[in-house]
């Protein structure tokens, strides 16, 4: 299975995650923007995911809820800034447990090696907020999501 690479430099405000998928960009784009499929790949694999809202268009809002084994809910929400199929979308991102801390996520899909190079960059309001996300094991959660997305794409 391909590896998920991270660029997390000290003192910077962003996290960059890169993954190769064997499917072409239009297929990857369709899958990652499909609300029905989000529960099958988004977030750490030990949590369930519910999509409350996912309006994939400029100004559209999204809200996903992670649910743990005890039924506790962790909400995430934001708005789409732009959606340029099949190459890019940009959206804001907020964990509702930390209200007011907002990140800007840019997802870019580029044709590469017969498949897709998927790059997700999240830029945070401060280095401290970025570092807190890193300490929260964002890399493990991201890697798990990418592995599940790869499996979902391979199934299609």
């Amino acid at each position: 299975m391909a590896e998920t690479a991270f660029v997390i430099e000290p003192g910077r405000q962003d996290i960059v995650m890169v993954r190769h998928f064997d499917a072409p960009p239009d297929v990857v784009f369709r899958v990652v923007t499909d609300p029905e499929l989000i529960p099958r790949w988004w977030g750490p694999h030990v949590l369930a995911t519910r999509v409350d809202r996912m309006e994939v268009r400029p100004g559209g809002r999204w809200r996903f809820v992670n649910i743990d084994a005890h039924g506790r809910e962790y909400g995430f929400c934001g708005v789409y800034h732009d959606v340029v199929a099949p190459e890019r979308f940009v959206r804001t991102w907020e964990f509702e447990g930390m209200p007011g801390e907002v990140a800007l996520e840019t997802v870019t899909l580029a044709a590469a090696g017969g498949g897709t190079r998927y790059t997700a960059q999240s830029v945070h309001q401060s280095v401290e907020a970025r570092d807190a996300v890193v300490r929260g094991d964002a890399a493990r959660g991201g890697t798990e999501a990418m592995d599940r997305l790869a499996a979902l794409l391979a199934d299609r």
Copy 2:
């Protein structure tokens, strides 16, 4: 007149602009979120500003156009992530001349010294994009806008 301060550190991805206004936060918030008043203070003073759209709510879109003496237009647009009157709004920001380069702007109003400490932080996708904005004289444009906003507030 109060001074506008900037924090622009090498290697970081953000620009922070801070200004004191004599008016209280609720008044400053009302003024800066009023589409009718935007042309009176937003942007460099040698340019005119037209508000095409300004929906101040989560998921709301905005588009402002700067117009120079020759009638050339420079569009800026984005979406509001959240709006928490009178203390904060967070929105995305894109200069249409550089499509795909998006910044996240957080404007915070805090009661201070009988007036308001206004902080506008813009975080960019890269240090390079941030530096390009700095080279584009963002500090002068920001300072002019803050001076015009102070004058508008003093008039009320």
